[in-house]
Symmetry: C2
Subunit: 206 residues, 2 copies
Amino acid sequence: MKHLPDKTVERLSQYRRSLSNILNTGKTHIFSHEIANLLHITPVQVRRDIMLIGYTGTLRKGYDIADLVALIGRIIDSDPGQRIAIVGMGNLGKAIIHYLHEIRSRLQIVAAFDINPDKIGKTYTSVLCYPMEQMEEVIAREEIRIGIITTPPEVAAAVASELIHAGIRGILNYTPKPLNVPDDVYLEEYDMITSMEKVAYFAKEG
Amino acid sequence: MKHLPDKTVERLSQYRRSLSNILNTGKTHIFSHEIANLLHITPVQVRRDIMLIGYTGTLRKGYDIADLVALIGRIIDSDPGQRIAIVGMGNLGKAIIHYLHEIRSRLQIVAAFDINPDKIGKTYTSVLCYPMEQMEEVIAREEIRIGIITTPPEVAAAVASELIHAGIRGILNYTPKPLNVPDDVYLEEYDMITSMEKVAYFAKEG
DNA sequence: AGGAAATTGTTATTTTTTTAACAAAGGATG
DNA sequence: CATCCTTTGTTAAAAAAATAACAATTTCCT
Ligand SMILES: NC(=O)c1ccc[n+]([C@@H]2O[C@H](COP(=O)([O-])OP(=O)(O)OC[C@H]3O[C@@H](n4cnc5c(N)ncnc54)[C@H](O)[C@@H]3O)[C@@H](O)[C@H]2O)c1
Ligand SMILES: NC(=O)c1ccc[n+]([C@@H]2O[C@H](COP(=O)([O-])OP(=O)(O)OC[C@H]3O[C@@H](n4cnc5c(N)ncnc54)[C@H](O)[C@@H]3O)[C@@H](O)[C@H]2O)c1
């Protein structure tokens, strides 16, 4: 499969989550306009996204929910599910670990790292916190491919370098400091302040 | 000023934050390519964004940092700064309040709401937590225009209705449940799982 | 002074994303 | 059995965003 558009991947992730919930209700098929209603987008967009991943529903019956969920799973995460490390076990880091554990996704945080001796060796929602010195070894051993950064912004760039050096392939940066990474490492950044200021601006305008 | 593109508003927010930091160093002017380097984007994009807000730099000297920061401020937030309420004082809610306080932005969280009696009446990083019943009154009194939702997903829709009923103009939803709001309320949603799955997908592909 | 280099502001082009349009399939209805 | 309705898959058009191109101006250098 060629590479999917950015936005399509985002929506696929959302489709899967909504559809997974519906599966439990016993419903087996769903129409594009029903999916669209769940996410408040248009049916065309849904059909187009589904077309891009090569799935095809049945006319007048819609899409087989279980099949679609399974296919999106195979596309988004590799088969056993992705293994993740998180660096910086402060407020945000702990909240994220807790959240991910509770939501039971196929994404799994399998290691935490920090420099604070009070945190090292502790377990947070069943994830053990290691010292930074063991990063390379742990990431290799646990086959971790993705890193989340929730340290103070001043050290974000250094942490990113260490992660990359340890062999990570993708980084999710929650620090407000924009990072610079090599082309073969995928970087996603999110800053809450930007979101809030965006709301502030557009709420003002109408 | 006509309405700015979505993405431009996001970048303006980032420009302001980076430039504010630089102001403290005594530097007074900056070139488009310097700004671009800070955020790892292209100089053209910077110039274009700045053009859109009607600011103009001086040739061969670049942009006056203080002026630009002030102008972006006038554009993004109304003059005294925006007042925000947050609903749901769990892990994420507390982390956000703490973060916003520490970063000292012009955005100000001035009220928190929860249903848990243990949390009501408490103060989190100097923000008082009110019971849900007082929402309408507090939002009016404090002139709050923006609401952040960090409750469990099951109650997100109900909370959004209450916020809107109380007169809020913009909502930032951190719950994984997509919301439906009237046209005159601006809605921004963010789900960490989607970000992580996006990284998972693109880290795999290369 | 005159030419070269740097840097902005703006228009043009390309790429990406969304939205619309519509033919084809299949079932439902009478 | 013929017709009508619904829903998919796909192509076409439109809108939004990013990138490139480049003229105009200022400073710098000789
Ligand atoms: N709290 C939020 O809601 C929030 C929101 C958006 C962004 N952020 C950003 O996320 C980051 C973390 O926020 P927080 O509130 O959790 O901060 P925090 O201070 O509570 O946590 C930071 C953690 O990083 C650890 N750390 C410090 N230096 C380190 C290093 N060199 N290597 C490894 N670990 C190190 C600290 O020991 C601490 O545990 C900050 O950059 C903040 O700006 C936070
Ligand atoms: N923790 C994270 O990092 C994280 C990340 C992404 C999304 N989320 C989402 O953010 C939300 C909050 O996460 P959390 O970890 O802070 O959960 P949490 O359970 O710690 O906090 C939820 C809070 O909401 C309050 N609440 C419950 N019902 C309410 C109601 N009807 N009105 C007002 N308040 C109510 C609870 O008393 C509690 O204080 C969840 O929807 C979660 O899925 C969390």
